[in-house]
Amino acid sequence: MMQIVAIIAGLLFALGGLLAVYRIVRGPSVLDRVIASDVLVATVICALGAEMALNRHTDNLPVLLVLALFAVLGSLSVARFLPGRDST
């Protein structure tokens, strides 16, 4: 049963990550790309945590801590130093 759960969860994580990558590639404005990269980081965090939960170890917890702390810096700097009224 846990293998079926792992396969379903992996498919959902992969689809979510792929949709976020699609929005990064296409995204009409730079803010859409920033939001999509945040979603990509959150997907990576959740996937690492799900791997820990399914395999019953805690090796990735420091990675999760660092990602939770520093994932904000990219979107923060882009949102802060965004040039006004770009049309890209």
Binding site: I35, T43, L61, A79
Partner: protein
């Protein structure tokens, strides 16, 4: 805790987190403008992370794990709303929004100096 209950709890929490990530991807794809995409993107950042880390804590219940997980959720809950707020403010200031989708625009009349929305708008550089 018995083994079957343990497995079911693990499966439910992992699937909840995975479903949140997938829903955020679909929301990014389907929603029309920046604000609604922010709404979609903040779900896996908090709820998905809480589900997954609760799962890890259930599987390895000791002091070190729970402390680290509380720190992870705390830092994510501090930084994710800050990023979303800044992106939303930048979206309003640089007009990356669709005014026809807004129900209430409390910052309307923002161009006038001294109005409530004046701080949110980046003034064009003087020529």
């Amino acid at each position: 805790m018995s083994d079957a209950v343990h497995d079911v709890l693990t499966a439910v929490l992992v699937l909840a987190g995975a479903l949140m990530c997938f829903a955020a991807g679909v929301g990014l794809l389907r929603f029309p403008d920046v604000f609604s995409r922010i709404h979609a993107s903040t779900k896996p950042q908090i709820f998905g992370l809480m589900a997954i880390t609760t799962d890890v804590a259930v599987n390895n219940f000791n002091v070190g794990t729970v402390t680290l997980i509380v720190a992870i959720v705390l830092f994510q809950a501090l930084t994710a709303p800050m990023a979303a707020h800044l992106v939303g403010r930048a979206a309003y200031g640089t007009e990356h929004l669709r005014p026809d989708l807004l129900i209430v625009d409390e910052l309307a009349g923002r161009g006038a100096p001294g109005s409530p929305g004046a701080a949110f708008v980046r003034q064009p550089p003087p020529d």
